[in-house]
């Protein structure tokens, strides 16, 4: 590697680090993304053959035509995916892109490995190990991400479990590791190619088997984990083909992604092992908690609800996934403006994991131009909840479930929730009495001071706005 390339790569590493740093603060986040993208562009321009000439000044062959076609095809696919996806479907798009990256990492590693295996000298054990690692992690990230994508799309989002599942997964993983260990030492010849193919297929299967038992509500954590996995696979690939930029970028993603996964689990107050191995709602816990529901559901009509809201002094709105699905954020803003005109103090209580990705609600309400200072984080608003006249829960369920504080047997016990049940009155906008994403009954709906306004969130809000305007 000549000095110029080395210096460029140092600059690229710095751009990636600054990019990630900026991404972790709201003020600079967008700039951070652009800085990282700039780093990627510079690194691409500086791409060179290992110990050889730049890729871009190489003699043009059929292979380079394929490269150009491939890049353009990927660009088009990526652009269509990124710009056509709805705001509510962003997390699954990230999962899909992550899966593609993992698949690419596995393919690159397998190419290198197969080429080495046809070579009579074989591959140095350390390099073979890196290639096998990238194959395993990349392919399980590929299939795992696709399952995560499908779950977030609403396909088989309930956890799928069967007796002996952990045992089967353990056996598969063991076989993969044994094959990997053997191949690391014996990376040459026809047997090695066969064993490698078996290992590749088992890794693809393992990705499916790993994610299938995990409930849809935990998918953001799973995607974050698979994201850091892909990072590590890319780093291992960089190691195998001796590309420093790939090692640095992949490792940064791997380590920051691991920390991010742990931070996400912390926001839900659950250890990461619980997410991965203790499928949410798969045990008897959720059903047991449902047994203790007391009280009756009291419906309310839009007119009466509007009256309650108009004559309140302080109203807190708790948005949830239902608002996102109904695309009702503009109606929510309209309602809060109408109430504001009447002198009602309106605030929004934002749960960190409301919706299906952290920050989901902030993004949607910002899109509807709700002022930033009206969005209050859970920790700030909870202490004053008993001084709230009306709490309007819009399509949120698990994040306002008092069972998280009261029921030790509940699967969500210990998760911080917005304490909507402490308000003087609560109005819940909900499509039906179906349980939330986690499949747990919500006692809030049965409390004496809770009224239910059934129907599509958007239609209900329109009715509320009309009634407040008229009243």
């Amino acid at each position: 590697m000549n000095t110029l390339i080395a210096l460029i790569y140092i600059g690229v590493a710095v751009l990636f680090i600054i990019g990630i740093k900026f991404l972790s603060s709201p003020k600079t986040a967008r700039m951070g993304n652009l800085i990282a993208a700039a780093g990627m562009f510079v690194a691409l321009l500086a791409l060179h053959q290992p110990g050889g000439p730049s890729v871009w000044t190489h003699v043009w062959t059929f292979n380079y035509t394929l490269i150009a076609v491939g890049i353009v095809a990927g660009l088009v696919i990526g652009a269509i995916g990124a710009y056509s996806v709805k705001m509510t479907a962003m997390p699954q798009m990230v999962a899909l892109f992550n899966g593609l990256g993992g698949g690419a990492a596995a393919l690159v590693a397998s190419q290198e490995f197969l080429r080495g295996a046809h070579n009579p000298d074989g591959i140095a054990a350390l390099l073979a190990g890196a290639m096998l690692f990238a194959t395993l992690i990349g392919s399980l990230s590929f299939t795992g991400s696709i399952i995560a994508y499908l779950k977030l799309q609403g396909k088989f989002e309930k956890p799928h479990t069967f007796p002996g599942q952990n045992f089967l997964n353990g056996v598969v993983l063991l076989v993969i590791l044994v094959l990997g260990a053997w191949l690391t030492l014996q990376a040459s010849g026809g047997n090695a190619v066969t064993a490698f193919a078996v290992m590749f297929l088992l890794s693809l299967f393992f990705g499916v088997a790993m994610v299938l038992p995990i409930g849809g509500a935990d998918m953001p954590v799973v995607i974050s984990l698979l994201n850091s996995f892909t990072g590590l696979a890319v780093a291992a690939d960089g190691f195998a083909i001796n590309n420093l930029a790939m090692v640095v970028a992949g490792t940064l993603v791997g380590s920051s992604g691991t920390l991010l996964t742990l931070l996400m689990c912390k926001a839900m107050n659950r250890p990461v092992t619980n997410v991965l191995f203790g499928a949410f709602g798969s045990g008897g816990g959720g059903k047991a908690a449902a047994g203790g529901v007391a009280g009756t559901v009291k419906p309310i009509q839009a007119d009466e609800a509007a009256l309650l809201l108009s004559y309140a002094q302080r109203v807190v709105i708790v948005p949830g996934y239902g608002m996102a699905v109904a695309q009702a954020q503009h109606q929510v803003r309209e309602l809060s403006e109408e109430l504001g005109k009447r002198g009602v103090e309106v605030q929004f209580a934002i749960h960190p994991v409301a919706g299906r990705m952290p920050g989901h609600m902030n993004v949607l309400l910002a899109e509807a131009n709700v002022p930033y200072d009206q969005l209050i984080e859970m920790e700030q608003i909870n202490p004053s909840m008993d001084r709230v006249d009306v709490c309007l829960v819009i399509g949120a369920n698990d994040v306002v479930n008092p069972a998280a504080r009261e029921e030790k047997t509940s699967p969500i016990y210990g998760m911080p929730v917005i304490e909507a049940d402490r308000c003087k009155a609560t109005i819940v906008l909900k499509r039906s009495m179906a349980a939330g994403f986690a499949g747990i009954e919500n006692h809030l709906f049965y409390k004496d001071n809770t009224r239910m306004l059934f129907g599509d969130a958007k239609a209900s809000l329109n009715a509320l706005v009309a009634a407040v305007k008229a009243g």
Binding site: P26, Q49, A82, M93, L107, S110, E112, A249, S255
Partner: protein, 93 residues
């Protein structure tokens, strides 16, 4: 065997952890998406492998790797930017 690369690997682990140690929960998803785009650098691996591919199988697999990697890197940065556009609007209002 170049051991410098291991040295860089270990240091990068610590930098990655250090750099995001204080991130508000509303940025978890954009941060995940942004780092997702960064590992799209696997595109480089695809390019290098495809450049040397000799057999039809190697060409096909290399081509798929390039398409996947390219979709990962371009789509990743674009979808992150779209998410973060929403945050910028908030600042203006």
């Amino acid at each position: 065997m170049d051991t410098n690369i291991l040295f860089i690997f270990i240091l990068s682990i610590f930098v990655g952890i250090e750099v995001i140690s204080k991130v508000p929960s509303m940025l978890h998803t954009p941060l995940m998406s942004g780092t997702n785009a960064i590992h799209g650098i696997i595109l480089f691996g695809g390019i290098l492998v495809l450049a040397d591919a000799a057999t039809p199988l190697a060409l096909a697999l290399g081509f798929i790797a390039v398409v996947f990697g390219s979709a990962n890197v371009f789509g990743g940065f674009m979808v992150t930017d779209r998410m973060l556009q929403m945050f910028k609007k908030k600042k203006q209002s």
